[in-house]
Amino acid sequence: MTDDNPKKDIPNADKKAIPEAKVPERKAKSNIFNIEGLTKEIEPRIRELKSSFLLFRENITAMIGLVLVLFIVIVAVCAPLICPPGLGDPMDMPKDIKPPKKPGSDGHILGTGHHGADMLYGIVWGARTSITTSLFVVLTGLLIGLVVGAIAGYYGGKVDNLMMRITDIFLSLPALILAMAIASILERNLQNMMLALIIVWWPSYARLIRAQVMSVKENTSVEAARAIGVKKSSILFKHIIPNSISPLIVSATMDIGSVVLVAAGLSYIGFGVNSGYAEWGRMISDGKDYFMLPVTYYGTSYVAWWVAVFPGIAILTFAMSFSLLGDALRDILDPRLRR
């Protein structure tokens, strides 16, 4: 969403933050004890960071994404303060086993849902579930993909061929359906759902990092490192991986949103958590029946639309904010794109 007006953004940023476009010479080997040398080496990076930050601040959609992400994180972290849990497992929504009550009644700001569970409680604690699930899936997938992809891309040959054929097989199944197949044979709980999602997610990271490593491998800096006799493993970990990681960060940020979407879908068709657990997909699934069946409570009859609507809005906000942030990061992390 941000690739639009390079002419408007960039000259400004250039004037303020990047006074000289000269690339400072980098030493071949850094010396930690040599403070002067260290600052010299770090300086361009700090300058880069500053200008990135500036670009970020000027980008409205990026700021919206960041604010939303921060908001969700704060809600998730402060969940015990916003909605104090009862005695049992805090992830189980407190309920009064009554029909859903309208938003605003009896101190339930968003009303109550299935079995009279408080909707606000479910959404606030559900943010915790979503963040932990998606972060765990994305980070584990990223780690596996990074190792596999980097080794395949760097060593090439037979290793590469074998590993890429394996990822081919995984990528030949649509994500939701592969996750469905794996989850269907496991016991239905949150851990197994995450396991299924990790199995689905790592191959795309492996592909991405492999392509990056293969292109960075040909850089002159890597050639120079090889020429002065740096060990193979440290070329890979110190020179190649740091230079090829930025598209991975972008894709991981966006995937945090997609993981939550797929997880919600899985939990809607019956994998994942049990009814009553603070998880958005499950809450929608529990709430869908109230669309069709008006509830009668104290003589009044009404359709409890809010039971399914609010968790859906939560998922939409979550996925959208990470998608916005990822979009902005893509523009910012790739220096070739923005200058």
Partner: protein
């Protein structure tokens, strides 16, 4: 000739992928506990159970089992589907046309709407139309599809009865058994026998599910189309066309659109997997009698044979669609080298 070579080569590459997928599915059938469970019921005598074991070779080592299992798959013995009370292959042939119809219609919808919105958005860059389109496409990729389906169904078919609820046609057609079975696709069949009333009834029934299913794809297609259109509009040949004095309409819809559509085709092919995955959710919400609903029901019934059979089928379709997309890509863009 080169094209033919390429296709043959790609078909050969499919073999290891399909073997890999079959290995995954096979190991899933064996991890899920006793694979014989699907064939045994409590009315069987021990002798009959022994027969089942012998017939499906469950006593033998795992590798022999795989060979027998793979033979069964090739001979179209995919096991028994508890949910449909039919052999899995027959259930697939029964449910396939409905899913095919739904995915084809949503694909067409996605392509036409997406391309139109993408072009409009690129041409009217940074104007209100562009902003609205981009917000809609952002929401499109972050919207939980089953939630959208529930909401639309609630408002449009339950609350206001604009669209009928569930199934492919009105009940009256099922009761009269007046549904023709020529291609299995009701929209085409009803046109073939010239029954316009049935055709419009079918359109009414398919509209909501297809719209929900295509929503995410519309968003992706719009995005890609917009970006590639912006890129193409800056190329020299467009400037030449303008300099020749062609009117803007011809330039955009004839000259620019054709080239800008090339990346879009790849995306459409790739999003086919997403459509098939989404079909599981959409079909079960709109009670569309297709593969997706069947597999979602199977998941609830713990019917592994059906779920895994469905996954195997989808993998084959997905791999073939990707092949077709690659071939089309090579055909449309002569610059692509066939290797």
């Amino acid at each position: 000739m080169r094209m033919l070579n390429y296709i043959v080569k790609r078909l050969m590459l499919l073999i290891p992928v399909l073997i890999g997928v079959s290995l995954i599915v096979f190991s899933l059938t064996r991890i899920s506990g006793n694979p014989a469970a699907g064939y045994i019921n409590d009315k069987m005598t021990p002798g009959q159970i022994q027969q089942v074991y012998e017939k499906y070779h469950f006593d033998e080592p795992i590798w022999t089992q795989y060979v027998y299992w793979a033979e069964g798959i090739i001979e179209l013995d995919w096991g028994w589907s508890k949910t449909a009370a039919l052999p899995v292959t027959e259930a697939i042939t029964l449910f396939f046309p409905a899913t095919l119809e739904l995915t084809l219609v949503s694909m067409l919808l996605a392509v036409f709407v997406g391309i139109y919105l993408g072009i409009g958005s690129a041409v009217k860059r940074n104007k209100p139309f562009d902003h609205v389109t981009r917000v809609v496409s952002l929401i499109g990729v972050s919207l939980p599809i089953f939630w959208l389906a529930l909401i639309l169904q609630f408002f449009l078919s339950y609350q206001y009865s604009i669209f009928p609820y569930g199934d492919r046609l009105d009940d009256i057609y099922y009761i009269n058994k007046s549904i023709p079975n020529i291609t299995g696709l009701i929209l085409i069949d009803s046109l073939l026998i010239g029954n316009m009333q049935m055709f419009f009834n079918g359109v009414k029934h398919i509209f909501l599910p297809a719209m929900c299913l295509s929503f995410g794809t519309v968003a992706i297609v719009t995005r890609i189309m917009r970006n590639s259109m912006l890129e193409v509009l800056n190329l020299d040949y467009i400037k030449t066309a303008r300099a020749k004095g062609l009117n803007e309409r011809t330039i955009i819809w004839k000259h620019a659109r054709k080239n800008a559509m090339i990346p879009t085709i790849t995306v459409v092919g790739l999003s086919f997997g997403g459509l098939l995955g989404g079909a599981v959710l959409t079909e079960s919400i709109f009670s569309w009698p297709g593969l997706g609903k069947w597999s979602a029901d199977s998941i609830r019934e713990f019917d592994y044979n059906s779920v895994l059979g469905f996954c195997l089928l989808i993998a084959c379709i997905y791999v073939l669609v990707n092949l077709v997309v690659d071939v089309m890509y090579a055909y449309l863009d002569p610059r692509v080298r066939l290797e």
